[in-house]
């Protein structure tokens, strides 16, 4: 068939669509609504997931982490990056920061010890941070209820820990820890601030020190760190950035492992994947329902026009060609509905994005898999879900047209013309 013939089928389908405007409007609006609903549902779901992933990765861990191969799972103080000699932290940070998509790089050092004040002593994780860089990866710096990040010879502690040992900003805290050389490190540190992440363990058993201070305390060289946490511009797309970082830092020291959050927060990743699967199910159900309505309309529309189809058959049009008109019609209906749906959905999504729906009234605060979640529904922009909805919508149009098309293709022309 040449272009002209193809044209005429589309033209006929398109014109047929507008012969019964009310019907087309009704049907298209059902489909549009389905699209809006599916987009909104998925957007909300994505918003929730985004929130979860953000909370899961932006509070402390970052979206990418680099460790020495041997560091995990034991997290021994001795398994620093680059082994006992350590590495050039400045160079490592610079290389990581230079990668596309990286928004922050924070080196970290960990040690286990005691924090004590007065008669009270608790076990704690001593975390060495770069106060300049840390805020670009984690939230510690922004959640101080009092004071600030630690400077040299200072320590910042979580609110629950501060409560437990009765310590306030300006007080002195005793820190004791087994140092890297086997000695028992001990010292007095001024409390520079108290933070509250609202995240279980970090508020009751973490103490933050300036990197150099902790390295000295634990008798470790300046080149020795346990972890580099990296934040990226697009949280959900950390994997390719992680790959770039891995390649870039590989030359600096052997045995470095670079992992995105989908690896080191495997369960979170699973839940997010599960939610994506649920999105597809939702779309499937919504459009599955819509198929009934559209198929119904299409059946009726083709029944009304069966005489025309019979004439076309009589003139020598093949059944397949006629069926195709109906399928085109379904597709065009889908396109119209999609245009209307998109015109409705995108402003709506943008509105909810800008004005999240606050649920705190009836759920209170919410913490999920160790990450605090703001009790609000928001939507995240994403290409994938509207695309899935759009494809589902067009698919609905086509699938709905299949039965009517099949019937049209099998129309007995003489009987129809004879009204038999």
């Amino acid at each position: 068939m040449n272009r002209g013939t193809r044209d005429i089928w589309w033209r006929m389908a398109w014109r047929n669509l507008w012969r019964n405007r009310r019907r087309t409007f009704l049907t298209a609006s059902a489909l549009s609504f389905g699209f809006v609903a599916a987009s909104l549902m998925m957007g909300l779901m994505n918003g929730m997931m985004e929130e979860m992933v953000s909370n899961g990765t932006e509070v402390v861990t970052g979206q990418i982490q680099i460790h020495a191969q041997a560091y995990r799972p034991e997290r021994s103080i001795h398994d620093t990056m680059g082994g006992r000699e350590g590495l050039d932290v400045g160079a490592l940070v610079a290389v990581a920061e230079a990668q596309e998509g990286v928004t922050g790089v924070a080196p970290r050092l960990y040690g286990g010890g005691l924090v004590s004040s007065g008669d009270e002593t608790v076990g704690a994780v001593l975390m060495g941070v770069d106060p300049e860089r840390e805020p670009r990866v984690s939230r510690f710096a922004s959640v101080f209820v009092e004071g600030r990040m630690p400077g040299p010879d200072e320590v910042a502690v979580g609110a629950a820990l501060a409560d437990k040992i009765g310590i306030a900003v300006g007080d002195e805290a005793v820190l004791v820890a087994p140092a890297a050389d086997g000695s028992t490190a001990n010292g007095l540190f001024t409390v520079s601030g108290i933070y509250r992440l609202d995240l279980g363990g970090f508020d009751d058993s973490y103490a933050l020190l300036e990197m150099g201070t902790l390295q000295d305390f634990l008798v470790m060289d300046r080149g020795r760190i346990h972890e580099v946490a990296i934040s990226v511009d697009r949280v959900r797309a950390a994997d390719p950035v992680a790959e770039r970082v891995a390649v870039a830092v590989a030359g600096l020291s052997p045995g470095l492992v670079t992992e995105p959050w989908s690896v080191f927060l495997g369960q979170l990743y699973f839940v997010v994947s599960l939610a994506s699967a649920m999105n597809s199910v939702v779309a499937f159900m919504i459009f599955g329902m819509a198929i009934f309505g559209v198929a119904n309309t299409m059946l009726l529309a083709t029944f009304e026009r069966r005489r025309e189809f019979a004439v076309a058959r009589a003139l020598g049009t093949s059944g397949v060609a006629l069926g195709r008109i109906v399928v085109y019609e379904g597709l065009l209906l889908g396109v119209v509905a999609l245009a209307a749906g998109a015109a409705l959905a995108f402003p709506l999504l943008a509105h909810v994005h800008a004005n999240p729906i606050d649920l705190s009234a009836f759920v209170g605060t919410y913490s999920f898999m160790g990450s605090a979640i703001r009790p609000q529904l928001t939507v995240e922009y994403s290409f994938q879900e509207p695309l899935v909805s759009a494809v589902a919508l067009l698919g609905t149009g086509v699938v709905s047209a299949l039965l009517p098309a099949w019937r049209v293709a099998r129309l007995p022309p003489a009987d129809v013309l004879a009204d038999r």
Binding site: H78, L114, S116, D119, T121, V122, G123, E172, V174, L175, V176, P178, A180, D181, G182, S183, T184, N186, G187, L188
Partner: protein, 258 residues
């Protein structure tokens, strides 16, 4: 894992008593012969005070170091240990009073009480935990002891005791074996087995000499069965019956006495 060992170190009684048998008179199923040996030891121990100095050498996978310490003890309940060198840790001190352990931290000039959650942490980086310091597991109470061998070993007339925990004794070992030299009742080694009968730790006593007027093993090596690590404690000098009383083992002395 290192419970029994520590009693020798902290109480100083190993110097007087030799074996692990700080006894209580309640033994039930242990043969009277052994109980007599234990009673002997017990009598020697009553009110025994000591003062001395020791060296602790620790070898681990990641580092090795050596500490010089002064030790005071009174019976099994009280002990005070102060680090003299290396300089970085000089003044660090540990006070044990019955079930509690305190540390003095010279840099911070503070004393802290070890919280329950940290009791299983290492003491001074050695293969000894804080919990070991307080664990007054009385072997006779917790274990049934039998003489599993008596006679000549490597030219010495020895007893070999096998201790199996009583059914309800709150101890982790499945079995402890100990060899004791008959002539002076000096321990030669103690071996600790887990529940499956696998050797978990060995304590070796050696360099048995007369020091401070008594015959004592002056070198104790503690070696976990897995790996190359070890802690070796060597007595440099020790005096007995130095006239300490309970007041000496105070928090004030922990931080002040140099």
């Amino acid at each position: 894992m290192k419970k029994a060992a520590i009693r020798f170190i902290l109480s100083g009684t190993l110097l007087a008593t030799g074996p692990v048998l700080a006894a209580a008179p309640t033994a039930a199923q242990t043969p009277s012969e052994i109980l007599e040996i234990i009673d002997d030891v017990d009598r020697m121990m009553q009110g025994a005070s000591s003062a001395g100095s020791m060296r602790m050498e620790i070898d681990t996978e990641h580092w090795s170091r050596s500490l010089e310490m002064q030790v005071w003890s009174l019976g099994t309940d009280y002990s005070l240990i102060r680090v003299q060198s290396p300089a970085r840790e000089a003044g660090t001190a540990t006070l044990k009073v019955e079930n509690e352990v305190w540390n003095y931290l010279p840099r911070a000039d503070r004393t802290i009480k070890i919280p329950p959650s940290m009791m299983l942490g290492s003491w001074m980086g050695s293969h000894v935990t804080n919990d070991d310091l307080v664990k007054e597991s009385r072997l006779v109470e917790d274990y049934d002891i039998v003489i599993s061998y008596e006679g000549d070993r490597d030219g010495e007339d020895v007893w070999e005791f096998t201790m199996t925990p009583r059914p309800e004794a709150p101890v982790i070992w499945g079995r402890i074996e100990q060899r004791i030299r008959k002539r002076d009742r000096m321990p030669l080694w103690a071996r600790y087995y887990d529940d499956d009968g696998t050797l978990a730790r060995t304590m070796t006593f050696s360099d048995i000499r007369t020091m401070g007027g008594r015959t004592v093993p002056t070198r104790i090596a503690i070696e976990p069965a897995d790996g190359e690590e070890r802690t070796v404690i060597t007595y440099v000098e020790i005096e007995f019956d130095v006239g300490l009383d309970e007041d000496f083992f105070s928090l004030r002395n922990l931080r002040a006495r140099q």
